[in-house]
Amino acid sequence: MSTRRKRAATEPTGMERREFIKMSVTASGGLLLGFYVPGAAKLASSGPSANVFVPNAFVRIGTDERVTVIVNHSEMGQGVYTSLPMLLAEELDADWTKVSFESAPVDPKYNHPAFGMQMTGGSSSVWSGLEQFRQAGAAARAMLLAAAAQQWNVDATVCRTESGTVFNGSTRKLTYGQLVGAAAKQTPPSQVQLKDPKTFKLIGKPIKRLDTPEKLNGSAVFGIDVKLPGMVTAVIARPPIFGATMKSFDDSRARSMPGVRKIVAVPAGVAVIADSFWQAKMAREALRVDWDEGSMRAFSTTQMMEEFRGRAKSPGKTVRNDGDAASALANAAKKIEAVYEVPYLSHLMMEPLNCTVDLRPDSCEVWTGSQFQTIDRANAAKVAGLPNEKVQLHTTLLGGGFGRRANPQSDFVVEAVHVAKAAGAPVKVIWTREDDMAGGWYRPAFLHAIEGGVDATGNPVSWSSRLVGQSIMAGTPFEGMMMKGKEYDPASVEGVDDLPYAIPNLRVESHRADINVPVQWLRSVGHSHTAFATECFIDELAGLAGKDPYQFRRELLSKQPRHLGVLDLAAQKARWDKPLPKGVGRGIAVHFAFGSYAANVAEVSVTDGKVRLHRIVCAIDCGQYVNPGIIAAQTEGGAIFGASAALFQELTFENGRLQQTNFHTFPVMRMNECPEIETHIVESTEKSGGVGEPGVPCAAPAIANAIFAVTGRRIRRLPIRLAETEAV
């Protein structure tokens, strides 16, 4: 099985960044089951060693020929533990079968080059790492080449590298492993020449993921799998309503339950610390907490949406104002208005939130699946009362992220450090699924009130969008950077403020709703709702104009070649011009987000009010691409993520309490509901864009437009509930 590459449990002595604590648990029957835990990390730069060459912070080469790439972004399924090593290995001319990965410790040298902190988000890992990882590989290669040339006493320019080996002519060769000692003595080059893309051997190829094998035999370590000697487990009774505070608690029954170590108030609620998760959970059920319910006790999303509808009647902050949308609408031959509504959504990662903390008097170690290493470490240090450098944060694999593990307040890390202070032992805080869903930091609910008109020939002459919803940037450390000089949150309006259609009179306004429900970025952020509203409304305008939705878009995108490229590609592959079987409808959508262009064509049928998704054809233009296999996976996964939200998902509140608790009330698309999906990637030499998120936004509008095609009913609210939709 040549494709199998494992992270090694043992690394060359002295250079271990991931020491493994081997533990044995003795069950009473005497069975010993060993397991491994990623332990104290040392920086990759902790010094040279005889059997390892460390040319820079991103790579380590051993005398055993192993090339270890240190990845500064979190692996949450999007493939960075493969695509970023590919970039480095390409320029290094490494033997790909010898390449493995390792997660970076928290250090400024691993900061995101564009965002100035260590983090993973915004579909930015590959484009931001493109130069960084290629440069690191090229620099390492130059040192190996120079070392070989020196040994042979020839000029480096007559030598070449291939597959982990330096060659001089056809007879002399030295492997990278053989050059480890000599290369370490070379001065790192101040400048390197990067390869001509025409010569790429790895970049642009569908290379299989490096992290697959460990995910197939139980050996992959996610945050929830971390185990430390003497570790206890905690669950927290959190307030049932946002903003509620604990008045008192009665643990008289809970504290005497088996395995319970301690029950203690923490800022997040009441922590129940026990020997095992189940014991902690059982004791929490026996705990009685008296809450001061606070100002959100009457909160209802039904009422909130009613208020949003009211606010949409008055002007908001101006986001964009081309021409004069109001007069153009007044003079339009035909006009239409529509209100689109989307609910709060939960990220719902398969791995519920968790965090493990080993707090000592002068140090603190944290293990968690973080997307926000710099912020999480700083927030942990603050609670621990330690300087940042005394806190080590180990990034485990993330069992899904979707933005939730990039919390500006580090909520799941901070509370775990508080629990660790009380626990007096290493502690893992586990959120149940219900805790995770009720824990907030949702995609905000939004309302888009849109009106538009076409002239006598069917050309759109006016479009006005008015949005109402919560800001996700307000109150975060990013507020200043993101909202500088703006009266609105760009993350609320992204995707509508840059509407690509040639409409001469365009107005976009934004109302900020301030509601004490914590909200945050969820995969594709603002685009998750703006694409739904704009791509459904453009279909409504096409209907008003009596034109085919695909051709209508084409006409309005004649000056947008990359939009047009994906739109045409999706339409052609879906055979837009060919009739479908009776009862099947087709819908199309196109959207730009995170530096990439995407289009979907969805095919659906509707039986007894139930939507059946048959096929989604996806096209993506992400510029110059790195791994088409991973891009296809992200694009199809993105479509499923978007379709799940469109068809099934909604968080609602009544009396301040979340009405959904688990997968049965907040469903995720399942195998039997999953359509055929195909992805087509545009060949491009443009600047690389993102891939993790751009696949999400088009699914909902493409499905909604397909439902219109087959039923004649416009979908203006998500999730799609056909029984409630009006016939248009």
């Binding site: 697959t212 990662m349 039997n672 999953c674």
Partner: protein, 156 residues
């Protein structure tokens, strides 16, 4: 004391018999490949085999395993030689990977019972296993591929 076997090794545990098998496997036996996802048999991340049947270990009390043979993902084929594991690699199935232990354990029962499963068989057997990353199309392809491998090799 509750006695059963896990991946061919026998264990005797002093544990509350109502504790879900999942947490015994993960915390007491240290086999963390079996995942917690929902705690109410909704997502399938905790799927293990008891005497060859796919069981949601998050709702199965450990007492249900008494005297029986439990297989977890760690026991499927640690060296990744199972046709499903090989097919999963060929199709590059996992994204975050968290649900994949459960997916494989469900698929293993399907493949044993239906060596050439249809798409409908796959729907039926795999619908209890949620994947939030959306790897379903690849899982489907990988199950078909594994079935072809088995048919070709004539043996597992």
């Amino acid at each position: 004391m509750i006695g059963f076997s896990v991946n061919g090794k026998s264990v005797d545990l002093d544990v509350d018999p109502s504790t879900p098998l999942l947490w015994v496997i993960r915390e007491q036996l240290g086999l963390t490949g079996t995942k917690y996802g929902c705690g109410m048999a909704q997502c399938g991340a905790c799927t293990v085999h008891i005497e060859g049947d796919a069981v949601r270990s998050c709702v199965a009390p450990v007492s249900r395993a008494t005297g029986k043979a439990v297989t977890t993902i760690e026991g499927l084929a640690p060296n990744l030689s199972h046709p499903l594991q090989r097919a999963w690699i060929e199709e590059d199935v996992p994204q975050c990977g968290y649900c994949q232990s459960g997916q494989l354990m469900s698929a293993a029962v399907l493949l044993r019972e239906k060596p050439r499963p249809t798409d409908e068989d796959i729907d039926q057997a795999m619908t209890g296993n949620i994947c939030r990353c959306g790897t379903y199309p690849r899982i489907r392809r990988a199950i078909h591929r594994a079935a072809e491998m088995v048919a070709k090799d004539g043996a597992k």
